[in-house]
Amino acid sequence: MPREPARDTAELVTAAKDGDRAAFDELVRVTHADTYTLAYRLTGDEEDARDVVQEAYLRAYRGLKRFRGEAQFSTWMYRITANCAATHLGRRARNRHDDLDEAATVVDAHPDHDPQLRADADDLRSRLRVALEGLPPRLRAVVVLRDVYDLPHEAIASELGISESAAKVRLHRARHKLRDQLFPRRDGESRAV
């Protein structure tokens, strides 16, 4: 990850594990934007993302002794963030009765499918961002963690509290929905999932 020079981070982690609070604060400074970005992608809401970031760093601080350094600190933070986001969204759903139905309809925010625009990579990226925000949280979490952050299926399943096969099924559904939205078929081409 570009913002995290491996050696510096490793040194900071070692110092923080030895009880150096300033080192942990520095780790937060270096990684907080990435952590926030992931939290926002998982929750789709600024306020929720802030709460998730707060909780994630508290958990990281308390559990730092258990971090064995086999993965990068950033990857470890991604896992904690994913877990916090899943807990947060679960709690929010129970409180607000949000619709977490996987079969929720993805809203097509770009009904005009200009071939020239589609060919443009920047346009595709911005449409992908919109499409991701439109995905149900359960599907979005899996596809973001796998396809953007490259976490292994096992880690995703573990942090989201689901089985590995369920994680794969959600991943494929999410990709299918994203593909349908980014590359819509012409009339008569639609295929049932």
Binding site: Y149, R179, L182, R191
Partner: protein
């Protein structure tokens, strides 16, 4: 093999880690629609990967809030450690006093017994 049977497998081919069966592979080789889907999935994955470097700027104040929260948690932890340290010292003292009392009682009892036997 129909295109409809390929949905799950094609979504997995984005990573290139999907193991298509021989019949699925044969179908894709012949089906332009499924080939187009494979291309779309790969394009989707490439675009997803580019989002990794796309870092959002958190609202000002988030960093300060996180650090303040950690500071507070650190203080709470320190206070808890101090209190639990004191509690351990108190319980240790109590245990030592109880042991000393019990030992004293035993010594006293055995002396009294010896005196009675001597008398």
């Amino acid at each position: 093999m129909q295109c409809e049977d390929m949905t799950e497998a094609l979504a997995a081919t984005a990573e290139g880690d999907a193991h298509l069966s021989r019949s699925q592979r044969r179908h894709v080789e012949r089906c332009l629609r499924c080939q187009a889907e494979v291309v779309q999935y790969r394009k989707l994955l490439r675009t997803m990967r580019t989002l990794r470097t796309d870092v959002l700027e958190p609202a000002p104040g988030l960093l300060a809030d996180v650090l303040a929260n950690l500071e507070e948690a650190g203080e709470r932890h320190a206070i808890r450690s101090m209190l639990s340290g004191r509690r351990i010292a108190y319980l240790g003292g109590l245990a030592a006093a109880t042991a000393a009392g019990a030992a004293g009682a035993i010594v006293y009892a055995s002396r009294t017994r010896r005196t009675r036997l001597a008398g």
